[in-house]
């Protein structure tokens, strides 16, 4: 459930300028009250978001082999507006033995842009 949101129009990190503007949601998980996460709303910056709106988790492919949790408005259909790839409720990259639960209709956006990645993600086999 959406508890708040913001639309980022200026980034202090490299690699995000091409994504601007993008919408971040502050989500309280249905599975555990008070547990909150922040992620991209993949429906795009003009999505009809409101406090209390239900969302579903998705994964956003931010670089080769790197996916981070994101959200889509439940029942809205996947946001094609942002041009970003959403994989509905699948596994973190590299985590699953049972293979992908579902694949996005379009290919993940793999622009080769250097973008922020978690330090735990492998980099050139290091």
């Amino acid at each position: 459930m959406v508890r708040s949101w913001t639309i980022i129009r200026q980034s202090f990190l490299p690699g995000f300028d091409a994504d601007l503007p993008f919408l971040l949601v502050d989500v309280e998980l249905a599975e555990q009250p008070e547990l909150r996460m922040i992620g991209r709303l993949l429906d795009g910056p003009t999505a009809p978001v409101r406090i209390g709106a239900p969302v579903s988790v998705a994964f956003e492919d931010v670089a080769e082999g790197v996916s981070v949790p994101a959200f889509t408005l439940t029942g809205s259909g996947r946001g094609s507006e942002s041009g970003r790839a959403a994989r509905p409720l699948t596994r973190p990259a590299g985590a699953g033995e049972e293979g992908p639960v579902s694949e996005p209709a379009s290919e993940p956006a793999s622009t080769g842009r250097p973008r922020m990645r978690p330090a735990g993600a492998s980099e050139e086999g290091s």
Partner: protein, 403 residues
């Protein structure tokens, strides 16, 4: 801990000095800090050789990758103590506060040292720096530690941090940016009257605020204090000594600090965390000082980001929960109205520049000491100086008479 602060009214501010606040000072920050420290010591009627305590909070609050070089970008208590020692001081008590809510934290260290007899005259100061280039821009391409759960999605830096609870407030209480304009107009009105302020003689018209582009909805540039170079310094001593010094003493009645109630991701500040912890902070402050919100005639709320003004007004019980946006828009904190609560009469950070909790502490001192000049309020007996978010920062209560 016991309810009442045992050292209430035993320590006082004896004098102060303030540097000019500039976008970039013409001299290194350390030089500015030493000059301001000397001026504060003289203002207190003391000599450098009297100073045996040096206390600060040296945090350089940037999300960027700037070097925190001592004497240039920060001025630590050790650095200052060395300079003063060369000029004849014998600082045996040197301490720096490391947390958030820098001025309340540093004041607490100074007050405790004086009350315990660890020092007789403490120089308390804070020096703020604006580095060349973007204040918060960070070239990192890999996020380590807890930031790996936030930065890859693009959640980074203090604008996004404050945007979420600010929007949460707007949505929950049907507040508006038009109402927030009243906060900025009040802060800049008061800042425009201060000769040291970066915004001296430059009030902010409401239309200019509303025309400013939004950077992280609903936050625009004017909602953020502007980074500056600047220093303020105070001399604190025990109340019995302060009464023999030239200026009227202003007494420290007590302090309280906020405690984040739950583990959160970096920079994730849900509104309920802020307000819940803030309510506890206020209860602690009233209990430790024995003074309640109805006796506070000079609240000085923190405003490094404009929504903090609403949050602190509600946390301190100066207006009902969810009502601060209307309270301010209806003139509730107008410093020109003798019946209002002048919560930004010292200009705050929005009206001075990014001086952290210094404007709040200074305004409490100047008004309660009767040294506010043309801005002097007829009634100023109990002040509260706040800093940072209520769930991370702190508040100090000052009184014109010992409690």
């Amino acid at each position: 801990m016991s309810a009442r602060f045992a050292a209430a009214g035993q320590v006082a501010i004896a004098g102060y000095a303030h540097s000019m606040i500039d976008r970039h000072a013409p001299r290194p920050l350390g030089a500015l800090a030493v000059e301001t420290a000397r001026a504060a010591i003289a203002d207190a009627g003391a000599c450098i050789s009297d100073i045996d305590g040096v206390v600060t909070a040296a945090l350089f609050p940037t999300a960027g990758a700037h070097a925190a070089e001592d004497g240039v970008a920060v001025v630590t208590a050790n650095w200052m103590a060395e300079q003063l020692a060369r000029a004849g001081a014998r600082p045996g008590y040197v301490s720096g506060f490391q947390g958030i809510g820098q001025m309340p934290g540093a004041v607490a260290i100074a007050v405790n040292a004086l009350a315990a007899g660890a020092a007789d005259y403490v120089l308390l100061y804070r020096a703020l720096h604006n580095p060349p280039g973007s204040y918060h821009a960070n070239p990192m391409v890999r996020a380590a530690g807890a930031q790996q759960w936030t930065a890859p999605a693009g959640f980074f830096g203090p604008l996004a941090m404050i945007a979420l609870p600010y929007n949460e407030y707007l949505q929950r209480y049907r507040a508006t940016r038009q109402e927030m304009a009243a906060v900025l107009v009040e802060a800049r009105k008061n800042g425009a009257r201060l000769p040291w302020s970066y915004w001296r003689e430059r009030p902010l018209p409401e239309a200019e605020y509303l025309a400013s582009p939004v950077l992280a909805d609903p936050v625009c540039r004017h909602d953020c204090d502007i980074p500056v170079d600047g220093v303020a310094a105070f001399v604190l001593t025990r109340a019995d000594r302060a009464r023999d010094l030239p200026n009227k003493p202003v007494y420290v009645a007590g302090y309280a600090s906020g405690m984040q109630p739950r583990r959160r991701l970096p920079l994730h500040w849900p509104l309920d965390d802020i307000m819940g912890a803030g309510a506890q902070l206020a209860r602690d402050l009233w209990a430790r000082t024995g003074i309640g919100p109805d006796q506070v005639d000079l609240p000085q709320v923190y405003d490094g980001f404009s929504p903090f003004v609403w949050f602190w007004l509600e946390v301190l019980g100066l207006c009902p929960p969810g009502e601060a946006h209307r309270f301010v828009a209806d003139g509730g904190i107008d410093s020109d109205d003798p019946a209002a609560l002048p919560a930004l009469s010292g200009g705050g950070a929005l009206g001075n520049g990014r001086m952290h909790g210094l404007p709040q502490m200074l305004e409490c001192y100047l008004q309660l000491a009767g040294r506010a000049g043309r801005r002097q309020r007829a009634r100023a007996t109990v002040g509260v100086a706040c800093q940072s978010s209520p769930h991370y920062g702190g508040a100090v209560m000052y009184t014109a008479e010992p409690t």
